[in-house]
């Protein structure tokens, strides 16, 4: 981890000093992150790819404004989020987005679904393709404000503070949205999990 950070700092210095080709190498570890971040906002895959390319080009053009004391991944994520939001504004009608913004004030049902005759998803069930597909669909169908927080935190594995910073939210709001996102997904995926065979006993409280 430390070695990777040192290498990144060195790359940044060399690029700024004129070795522009090295930007390819700098960006490589973050391709997936940039794509998923834009996808979390625009939802459409073709649009997300185009947006991710734009975000990377924009990062290249503005590399001179990057402060060495900041974290490159956070800076890049902010650019990706802005690119996604720009596209969303173009694509979405004002009426639709205002509904979404008011969502948080409403009382929703954020209680998980019980699984009565079931202990744990066996590992082989996690390998099933249809479960992955169901999860992708469920994430895509989350309300925007929940999907964005969930993507950064649980897919890209940012911590709460990094997620809050990238989205311009306070950490308390991130925690609430994350909780709701996780519960909504649990509820939606229970029907898929129920078809799984029960796992053997004694295996069920394993740590993450």
């Amino acid at each position: 981890m430390q070695a990777a950070a040192t290498k990144e700092t060195e790359l940044l210095q060399r690029i700024v000093a004129g070795e522009k080709e090295l930007f390819h190498e700098l960006i490589r570890p973050y391709e997936r992150m940039v794509y998923l971040t834009v996808l979390a906002i625009v939802k459409n895959e073709a649009d997300a790819e185009d947006g991710a390319q734009e975000a990377v080009i924009s990062a290249y053009r503005h590399l001179g404004t990057f402060r060495a004391e900041a974290k490159f991944s956070t800076w890049l994520t902010t650019i990706a989020i802005n690119e996604g939001r720009k596209r969303l504004r173009k694509a979405k009608s004002a009426a639709e987005s205002s509904i979404d913004e008011h969502l948080e004030e409403q009382d929703g049902d954020y209680t998980p679904a019980p699984l009565t005759d079931w202990r744990e998803i066996p590992l082989e069930a996690l390998e099933r393709k249809e479960l992955r597909e169901a999860l992708r669909r469920a994430v895509r169908n989350l309300p925007d404000i929940y999907r964005q927080v969930f993507t950064l935190r649980d897919l890209e594995e940012f911590n709460i503070e990094e997620t809050a910073e990238a989205l311009g939210l306070n950490p308390g709001v991130v925690k609430v949205r994350l909780h709701r996102a996780r519960i909504l997904l649990q509820k939606q995926l229970v029907p898929f999990l129920k078809t799984a065979r029960p796992a053997r006993k004694g295996f069920f409280r394993r740590a993450l």
């Binding site: 930007f23 391709e31 999860l135 709460i160 993450l208």
Partner: protein, 86 residues
């Protein structure tokens, strides 16, 4: 004091993240020992998170990287980046 299931559900996300305080954590764990419903909810939620973080679940489109670097190469060739500190 025995926690109600509903109370446990309200803290599932923070419990998974390890951000509940020690006292509440202990109460939740005591509850989980005798409550199969909450244990199953917790396990299923955790497993969803494991599946989410698995790179095979959310993959990049085929050829994404090649197209990105091709476009980037054109950009690098055609323009000077803004390398002046602002």
């Amino acid at each position: 004091m025995r926690l109600a299931c509903k109370h446990v559900w309200g803290h599932i996300s923070e419990y998974i993240d390890g951000s509940v305080d020690a006292k509440l954590r202990e109460e939740i764990e005591r509850h989980l020992e005798h409550c199969e419903i909450c244990s199953a909810i917790l396990d299923s939620t955790r497993n969803i998170l494991i599946l989410t973080a698995d790179n095979r679940t959310f993959e990049l489109p085929v050829g994404f990287s090649e197209r990105l670097h091709e476009r980037l190469e054109k950009e690098i060739e055609s323009s000077e980046p803004d390398l002046e500190k602002q």
